[in-house]
Symmetry: C2
Subunit: 213 residues, 2 copies
């Protein structure tokens, strides 16, 4: 089956939306937690978290320009400078998906989705108690993507919260063992099973070069 | 287990590299195919493909500033304006991983990895014959990420090649059925199993708003 750019532009809008979102492949399922200056908590599901570097540890995520849920996340991150990235587990994918219901500013998506906000000392943004892997982030940079008005929000890792004894053999995590879910498209959730781990094949020079990434 | 930013900065370099790469979650495993003006083919594995929009259909991927493999991909894309994104299947993850061996400019990673270049009419860049899902891309924009010198390469979908009868119910693809692999960290590969597909919960206004993304 061959679909050209022209056929794609003529395709039914929803079909194209689903196909192109599926074609970006498997993505991490993350809940991004934030809070406004009045203490109103916000929680939104994202599948666009991307690794940008290890030293300093930087992650980005793509923010669409419109939409209530996304706007609250954006405003809160700019206002407080902090947010959390929480991994969705397969056992609560439905709860996590419910955070994408359009909610008023006064409604916390924690309540909508029956997930529990959790705080650590000296860090403003709420974590998701039910998540096995939680990351506290500080905002660093916003990059505009001219092509379609989205933006890449870049932050640095401040805190990592993990179950004990899950980090093995040199920093690796088994996402399958940890019950982590993946997303493809806008609304399809997958479980993960570790199949293979290969040696890192670059030579020492390359590896040393890589250490900052 | 709680790891702070300070503890992270003092961690063994390789352990930090593996941990932070694992923490960005499950990623798509893609082979990016390109060709230089002399007809020399290049193939490199990436796990940073991200969805940027559906209409026009835009994908980005993160390019590190150094490293032979990455540099050839970068130079070829700038020189020809075209490249391919090919999904890695679980049955050839080891072949795909071998493209990350540091190769000279004259060595094609297609040969190194025993994968087969495939072309379609009027499109310069090589696809991977063994991939179930293949996308032909045209280069649109390069965005510099100041924080660490990486860049986001943005391209538009020109061609989509899929097995017949795999696009179902409104554009969705079952990545598990298609044998698609995911990556976490730098070198751990996962198989995928579809667990749930929920209705898209935004209201009609929001959905219409979304149609360009």
């Amino acid at each position: 089956m061959h679909i050209t750019k022209i056929e794609l532009s003529k395709m039914n809008r929803i079909e194209r939306l689903n196909l192109i979102n599926s074609l970006s492949g498997i993505k991490p399922a993350n809940l991004i937690g934030s809070i406004n200056s009045n203490g109103q908590e916000n929680l939104a599901i994202f599948s666009s978290v991307v690794h940008l570097g290890s030293n300093p540890a930087l992650f980005g995520f793509v923010l669409r320009p419109r939409g209530e849920v996304r706007r609250h996340t954006h405003e809160n991150i700019l206002a407080t400078g902090y947010y959390t990235i929480n991994f969705v587990s397969t056992y609560f994918v439905q709860n996590a998906h419910y955070t994408s219901i359009k909610a008023s500013e006064e409604t916390s998506e924690f309540s909508l989705s029956a997930l529990t906000p959790e705080y650590i000392q000296n860090f403003k943004a709420p974590f998701v108690k039910e998540s096995s892997i939680k990351i506290g982030m500080s905002f660093k940079q916003e990059l505009d993507i001219e092509a379609n008005g989205t933006s890449l929000i870049i932050g640095q890792v401040e805190h990592i919260l993990l179950p004990d004894d899950t980090m093995s053999n040199g920093g690796h995590l088994d996402l399958g063992e940890l019950g982590v879910a993946g997303i493809s498209g806008l609304n399809t959730y997958y479980s993960l099973k570790k199949e293979a781990q290969f040696p890192f094949v670059r030579d020492e020079y390359e590896l040393s070069d890589l250490s900052q990434f």
